[in-house]
Structure formats: structure tokens, C-alpha cells
Amino acid sequence: MIQLKSMLNCIDNSGAAMVECVMVVGQKKHASIGDRIVVVVQKQRGAAAEGMSAASTAVKVKRGDIRHAVVVRTRQMVSRRDGSVVRFDDNACVLINKAGDPVGTRVNGIVGQELRKKKWSKILSMAPMQA
């Protein structure tokens, strides 16, 4: 349930750590996994960011930047067609450019399987796991 002012973790190596949702693209409802949003970078990842090598954390975005992003995890339950439901402990997103390609080169963390249905195959292939 990502809406205006929602704070999300950014789980790629674009350089952003925390972002704030300022708009949900293309729909009037709240955003769920696989939806596109517009975010403002609120916190940058430091040099000693956990789980990332110094080479891969090339800072591509800065605090205050306005970027597009794809939601990859939500705290809100997401139900699937077979009746199963998935829920994560945090809200997370991956930054993309306007064409839809990811800004970072790596995704570290689990992403929701709904991305496949919404055709974010690039992000899925970058992710280490999906649930």
C-alpha cells in the first residue's frame, strides 16, 4: 500500500538508501508490488553500506533527486491467483529511469513474484531470490 509520503527502502546499488513516494504512476489507487511510482531520494547510502562492495556503490543518485521506481516488496498482503498470500516485513523499491531500465546494476534482497506478471524481467533477473 504505497501512497504519497510512504517511505521505502531502496535495495539496488544506485546509491539511494531511503526514498519517499511522491506519486503513483498510472493509477489512482495505492501502489502494490510491480507498480511504478515516482520517488524523492531522502537518504544516500554511505561508503560503508552493508552488503555492497565499494566499486558497485557508485553514487548515481543524490539526496533530493526525483526518480521513477518499481515497488518490489510491500508490508501489505498481496494475494495470488491460487489463493496464497505473501507479505514482507518492509516496503522496498528499485530505482529505474523513464525508459524502465534499472538505474543500479545489482539488486540485493528478495523481490515479489508479482514482478513477473507485470513484466519487470530485468529486475527479476538481477534479484538473488524471489518469493
Binding site: 516488496r73 498482503m77 491460487d82 489463493g83 496464497s84 498470500v85 505473501v86 507479505r87 514482507f88 516485513d89 518492509d90 522496498a92 540485493n108 534482497g109 528478495i110 538473488p128 531470490m129 518469493a131
Partner: protein, 264 residues
């Protein structure tokens, strides 16, 4: 235009006439001339313009055109049909309806039982989440495998939502340091298997362990427990297979020996 139709489909008119006879059959089931005349005299006052044709079938004839303007049948409710044996006149007048069986007071449990029987013919899933000592309980570590492949999901059983065919379980685990919770329907055909990886040491004193979402009580990842269990299971399976193979080999040898003796 009609002639053209006939040329194209010479048996078209036959079909129409057949349909008419079928409709008549439906409207006047088991109609006899004798009954029609006999009942007509016994009837009470008939409203003007309404002619009684057969049993309780009324037809209103238009006085000008002498054609049937409208027609309707009067059916007696099932209670009166069953009690009408006392008076012969009412018995004759009533159309015999098939006796209606009243539906069961609560049909939903029966429906659920039927559906569960269809989705789980062996009763294994029902037994796994029944309220018995051997069944899986809240706090156990379970593993769910999918029919479509993909990695099986293991986690702590937080709660069981018992709702007939919709019965579902909530599993919680940590994947890549992020807590993930999954609800699974236990009677889903896509769920290939549900296995108990580890039993809880103590019986949980709550029905739903939602407190395990808090950092203080969070179990963390269960992947190590699952790995250990898998390793152990593989050892057991291989040892079993080995012993079975040995037995088979012995039997084969014995059989061969017997065959050789017979040949001698």
C-alpha cells in the same frame, strides 16, 4: 420468400411441426379424453370467459376472435397434495407434483465435506491439521512444496485458519534478512506437499503466534534447520535404499540358485 426457404430446406416445416407437438406434450402431460369430460362436470362455478380444459389448466378465449387469449395452470402446493386424499374432488383437481424434499437445515457443512473429500481423497491434509496430538501445531516448522516447481517455502507455523475447504496456514521465515510471511490453502492442488520439519519443543499457549513478528520473539531464518533435516532425511533414505537393494540382491541370488538346482 417461403418458397425459397422450402427449396433450400425441404424438411424445415417438419422441424417446426415437431417442435409444436413437443410443446403440447409439455403443457398437457398424460391428457385423456375421458378425464377431460369427467372432470369438467364436477367443477364448481367457472368464471365467465374462462374455459377449463384439463385438470387445472385454464384457458381464456377471446370472444371476438375465438382464439386462446391466455392460458394458465393452477398447481396445488405440495402439502395439500399429500393431504388431499381425504376429499376425492380435490384429489382429482390437483396436478400430482413430485413430492418436494425439504433441504437440510444447514447445507454448508455437507458441501464443505464433499469438497474436502474431492480435493483430499486420502484425508492426509485433514489429518495433518486436525486438532490431534500427532497433527501439526502452531510453533512447528513446516515446509510447503509447490507443484509448479520453484523453491519450497519453509517457515514457522504462526496460525491455522480453519474454514472448511478454505482452511489455510500462515508460515513465517526470513529470506535474505527480510521477514516473509505466506498464507497457503492446505487443500490447494498447487501445494504438492506439506511436511513437518521440526516440532515445537513446548506447546504454544496461544492459537496465533503473531508476537513472533516482534524482534524480541522473532525466530529468524529457519534455513539451517531445514538444511539439517534434509541432510538427515537423505541419509535415512539412502540407508533404507541400500538395505532394500541388499535384500533384493540376496533374493535374486537365492532365486538364481534355486533355478540352477532345478536345472540340475
Amino acid at each position: 420468400m417461403n418458397t425459397a426457404l422450402l427449396v433450400r430446406r425441404p424438411l424445415g416445416c417438419l422441424k417446426a411441426s415437431l417442435r409444436q407437438t413437443r410443446q403440447q406434450n409439455r403443457v398437457f402431460p398424460n391428457r385423456h379424453m375421458a378425464t377431460a369430460t369427467a372432470t369438467a362436470s364436477k367443477r364448481g362455478p367457472i368464471p365467465s370467459g374462462v374455459s377449463i380444459d384439463d385438470h387445472n389448466f385454464y384457458r381464456i378465449i377471446d370472444p371476438k376472435t375465438k382464439k386462446t387469449r391466455t392460458a394458465f395452470a393452477v398447481y396445488t402446493p405440495p402439502e395439500t397434495t399429500s393431504h388431499s386424499s381425504t376429499t376425492t374432488t380435490t384429489k382429482k383437481r390437483s396436478l400430482t407434483l413430485p413430492k418436494l424434499i425439504s433441504p437440510p437445515a444447514d447445507p454448508l457443512p455437507a458441501l464443505h465435506a464433499q469438497q474436502i473429500k474431492r480435493m483430499d481423497p486420502t484425508g492426509a491434509r485433514t489429518a495433518l491439521f486436525a486438532k490431534t496430538r500427532t497433527a501439526a501445531r502452531v510453533g512447528d516448522i513446516l515446509m510447503v512444496t509447490h507443484r509448479r516447481g520453484g523453491e519450497p517455502f519453509a517457515g514457522v507455523l504462526l496460525s491455522i485458519r480453519r474454514a472448511g475447504i478454505d482452511t489455510a496456514i500462515l508460515l513465517r521465515n526470513h529470506l535474505a534478512k527480510v521477514g516473509v510471511e505466506m498464507w497457503y490453502k492446505i487443500y490447494n492442488k498447487n501445494v504438492a506437499g506439506i511436511e513437518i520439519v521440526k516440532r515445537a519443543k513446548k506447546r504454544a499457549r496461544r492459537a496465533r503466534l503473531t508476537y513472533m513478528r516482534k524482534p524480541k520473539h522473532d525466530m529468524g531464518s529457519v534455513s539451517e534447520v531445514v538444511l539439517a533435516w534434509r541432510k538427515m532425511r537423505r541419509v535415512v533414505a539412502t540407508s533404507k535404499a541400500a538395505s532394500k537393494a541388499k535384500v533384493d540382491a540376496k533374493a535374486k541370488k537365492a532365486g538364481k540358485a534355486a533355478g540352477a538346482k532345478k536345472a540340475k
